[in-house]
C-alpha cells in the first residue's frame, strides 16, 4: 500500500533518523513545566518561576504599590489593567477625570471628548436596557434623560446622587381615597396646569382637592405644582410627561383618563432605579454622570 509506505518512511525518519522539530518540542514542553504552573504535587502544584509585576492599591494602606507575583492569568489581568502602554490615553484621562471637579470636566473639551466616548460604552452596558440606547426612556416605566423634565433633578450633583444611591418612585394610590368624580375633577385640574385645557367649574373643584387636605397633592407636587425634586415628585406644569402618557392621547377625554388612571393607581415598588455604588467605581459613576448631563436638557 503506498499510504503505508509513506507512513512508514515518516515514522522511521522521525523516530530513528532524528527529527529536529520533534525533539525541540519535547524540550520546550519540559522548559514550559518549569516556567509556568503545571504538574500537581500532593495538595499543591509546581508554581513555575515565571513572574508578573503589577501595581495595585494596597487595601490596608490605601497606597499604590508595585508587586511581583508568580505567573497566572489573574495576575496578568492586574498587570494588563495597570499597564499604561496598553492604552496610554485612557489611563491618563481616567486619572485626570478622577481628580477634576464636575465644573472643570465640563469646561475642558478634551475631557468631554473622553467622557462622550467612554460614557457611551458605560451607558450602553449599564443603563441602556432601561433608559434606552440614547437615554430616551420608555414612557411610564423609565424616565427620559434627554428632556428638561427631571424628577430628582438634572444638576450634576443630583444626577450623581441618583446614580450612587438609586431612586424609588413613590406616589400613593388615590383610587380608594378619592371618589371617581373627584378623580375626574383633579385630572381636569392637572390638565389646566400645563395649559392643555382651560379652567372650568370641574377644574376648580379639582384645584380644591389638589391644594386641600382631601387630596393633599400639593404636599409633594408643591402648591405651584412644579414638583419637588427632593421627593422625586413630577413637575405637572410643563408639557412633559414621564408616566401618564398624555401626549399620546388625541382627545381631551383620553388625556383626562390617562391622568385619572395613573392617579388612582399611584406608584409603589414599580419604578426602581438601582443603586450603582457597589457595581461601578467612583470614576465610572463620575463619567456616567457627566455623560448623562451632556445628553441634553441638563440643569
Amino acid at each position: 500500500m503506498p499510504g503505508t509506505a509513506t507512513c512508514k518512511s515518516i515514522t522511521t525518519r522521525c523516530l530513528v533518523g532524528g527529527c529536529g522539530l520533534f525533539y525541540a518540542s519535547a524540550v520546550f514542553a519540559v522548559l514550559y513545566w518549569f516556567i509556568y504552573p503545571s504538574w500537581p504535587v500532593g495538595d499543591t502544584w509546581i508554581k513555575g518561576f515565571g513572574t508578573v509585576n503589577y501595581a495595585v492599591t494596597d487595601k490596608a494602606s490605601g497606597k499604590e504599590e508595585e508587586r511581583e507575583y508568580r505567573w497566572n492569568t489573574r495576575a496578568l489581568l492586574l498587570e494588563d489593567l495597570g499597564d499604561a502602554t496598553n492604552d496610554p490615553q485612557r489611563k491618563e484621562m481616567l486619572a485626570k477625570v478622577q481628580a477634576a471637579s464636575y465644573d472643570q470636566i465640563v469646561k475642558d473639551p478634551k475631557m468631554m471628548e473622553f467622557v462622550r466616548s467612554v460614557g457611551k460604552g458605560l451607558f450602553g452596558d449599564n443603563c441602556a436596557a432601561c433608559h434606552g440606547r440614547g437615554g430616551q426612556g420608555v414612557v411610564g416605566m423609565y424616565p427620559n434623560l434627554t428632556d428638561d423634565d427631571w424628577l430628582w433633578g438634572g444638576g450634576m450633583d443630583q444626577i450623581h446622587e441618583t446614580l450612587v444611591q438609586g431612586r424609588r418612585g413613590f406616589m400613593p394610590a388615590f383610587g380608594a381615597v378619592l371618589k371617581p368624580d373627584q378623580l375626574d375633577d383633579v385630572a381636569e385640574y392637572v390638565l389646566t396646569l400645563s395649559g392643555e385645557t382651560q379652567p372650568s367649574a370641574a377644574s376648580e373643584r379639582g384645584q380644591a382637592i389638589f391644594q386641600g387636605q382631601v387630596g393633599g397633592c400639593y404636599y409633594c407636587h408643591g402648591a405651584d405644582a412644579k414638583g419637588l425634586q427632593s421627593q422625586g415628585a413630577a413637575n405637572l406644569t410643563d408639557k412633559i410627561w414621564a408616566i401618564a402618557d398624555v401626549p399620546a392621547q388625541k382627545s381631551v377625554q383620553d388625556k383626562k383618563a390617562a391622568i385619572k388612571n395613573f392617579v388612582a393607581k399611584g406608584v409603589n415598588n414599580t419604578r426602581i432605579m438601582p443603586a450603582w455604588k457597589d457595581r461601578l467605581s467612583p470614576t465610572d459613576i463620575k463619567l456616567i454622570a457627566v455623560y448623562v448631563h451632556q445628553l441634553g436638557g441638563a440643569q
Partner: protein, 244 residues
Amino acid sequence: MRHEHIETNSGLMIVLILLVISIGGLVEIVPLFYINETVEKVDGVRPYTPLEMRGRDIYVREGCYLCHSQQIRPFRDEWLRYGHYSLAAESQYDHPFQWGSKRTGPDLARVGGKYSNQWHVQHLKAPRSVVPQSIMPNYPWLLETELDYSDLASRMGALRATGVPYSLTQQEYDANVSRFGKVVADQLDISQAQDSLMKQAHEKDFDGIPGQITEMEALVAYLQVLGTMVDFTKYDEGYFTTFR
C-alpha cells in the same frame, strides 16, 4: 511493539488514543479535587435558597445557558464590561455549573442587582419592549404558570447527595447555623423548605403579583442573586491571584 504496527492497526490505535487522552484528562482534572487552593477562601457564598434553586431549575429547563454564559474570565474587556472575574468559590454549589462559553446574549454571572425585578419580569415576558434590538425569545408563560414546589425535598436531597450542604439532620442544621448564620441555615433546611420558599416569595414579591408564586418569581429570585454573594470590597485586589 513497532510504531508502524499501531499506525496500520486502527482498532489498536483507537484504544491507545483513548488511553492517552484519558490519562491527560485525569492528570488535568483529578488534582483539582484535592488541591487546596482550587476553591478560593472567601466569605459569603452560600447554597441557593429553595426559591432560587427552583429558579435555577427553570433557567436550565428553558435553556437560557444556550445563549448566556455565567463565567467572567480574567480578561481586561470582560472586567470592564461585567465586573470582577468569576471565582471557583462562587459556583461551588452549582450542579451542574452554568459557566458555558456561548454568548449570544451577555454574560449573566453578575447580573444580580443590576436591574429591578420589574425590568426582569418585563424583559422576560417581552424582551423587545425594553430592548428594541434584542433577539432574545419571549417567555410569557413564566408569568402564567404557577410554580410547582411540591417536590422540594427530593430536589434538595439530590443536590445534598452531590455535597451541597442542605440539612436533613439536626447535626447538619447546627453546622449550617455556625457556618452561614441562623437565617440562612433555616433556608437550607430541607424540612422547612416549602415554608421558606413561600416566605421569600411573599416578602420580596419578585414577579410583582402579590399572593401568587409563579415560575417568574423563582427565576427572577435566581437572577437577582447571581454574583452578589461575595463582597469584593472586603478583599485586596491581589488576594485572588494567590489561589492560582
